[in-house]
Symmetry: C2
Subunit: 196 residues, 2 copies
């Protein structure tokens, strides 16, 4: 959800006749570029060069740039939410501790990285959710699942608290991005402790 | 902060030899386009056409696109934060009620508009704050002033609560943008009531 999983792909050997590997490499490279500079700032030409693929091969897998964006949401951003947020909360016997743990882990990770690219769900939402209904629908699925998973883990009557956790995290990551440090996540987690 | 002040400018008469008016018209048009589709999705050519100015006149006032972006932050986004958030909180004898009032007012406004373009501070931050240090510095000024004004109004020892208010609002606006309705702001305000 934060900046992990950003720099993979470039280490992979480039094999010929490996269409599945090529598709994955395009998605991983696109995810990294979208996180670093945004969807609209990334041209297909730049992506072709950065992924080390031919234009023909890229267009075979993704006839339009938008198809790359939607696949990045489904196949990179959604698994990142699962790995960072939903998995730990679902697997923990103590949802409250798990939620506060995610804030703490990510704050430390941001400070260790020394760079905050932000939450990919929120980055793409603020860039694309008003202008494009297809991106909006795809991103809304992630926000809905996120809130519902937290509400289920926190127990009956916690829908509103779950919405607040997602909002506080999303906003704290925006502030972390402008401050380039994890501290805003820690401040918000301390306030959430009183609510949860 | 939400979607108000978006459609002004087009009603103004276009006068010749009115450099100040022309500059304002460029900024107002740019603010509207950035809110609707983002900074990177807006080309200078599109801005020239939408503002009804010549390329020469635009470049006279703003030699680079980035100068337009920075001026929009200083001269449009900062006053919007002041008008929507800081003014009402500063002028109220009851900071808590004023803060909750901003959430309620904006939620109603978003539902009335039937369209959520989002908070311009957060939109520009998530799009630009990692990629460009100049945008980051300019946007950080707004976040710092926002939090400090809330903390001062809420009274001694409220720095963390003020940070939480800004984060909850920022995140709630992201969710409002993906849901295209004001409800997320209401849910978060109800949780904030318990904290403030």
């Amino acid at each position: 959800m934060a900046d992990g999983r950003m720099d993979r792909g470039e280490d992979r050997p480039k094999r010929k006749n490996d269409p599945a590997g090529l598709r994955e490499r395009v998605l991983e490279t696109a995810f990294g570029l979208f996180q670093a500079q945004g969807y609209n700032a990334t041209s297909v030409q730049e992506l072709i060069a950065a992924a080390g693929v031919t234009g023909g091969a890229l267009h075979h897998h993704f006839p339009t740039k938008k198809m790359i964006g939607l696949a990045v949401i489904r196949e990179r951003v959604a698994p990142a939410v699962e790995e960072t947020w939903l998995g730990p909360v679902r697997e923990s016997a103590d949802a409250r501790a798990a939620i506060l743990g995610v804030f703490a882990t990510l704050a430390d990770e941001l400070d260790r990285n020394g760079a905050v690219r932000g939450c990919p769900v929120n980055n793409l939402t603020l860039e694309l959710a008003f202008a494009d209904p297809d991106f909006r629908s795809e991103l809304r699925i992630l926000f809905d699942r996120w809130r519902e998973t937290l509400a289920k883990a926190l127990g009956a009557g916690s829908d509103r608290r779950a919405a607040m956790v997602v909002a506080a995290y999303s906003g704290a990551m925006a502030i972390a991005k402008v401050e380039q440090r994890g501290e805003p996540l820690r401040l918000c987690a301390q306030e959430l402790e009183r609510l949860l």
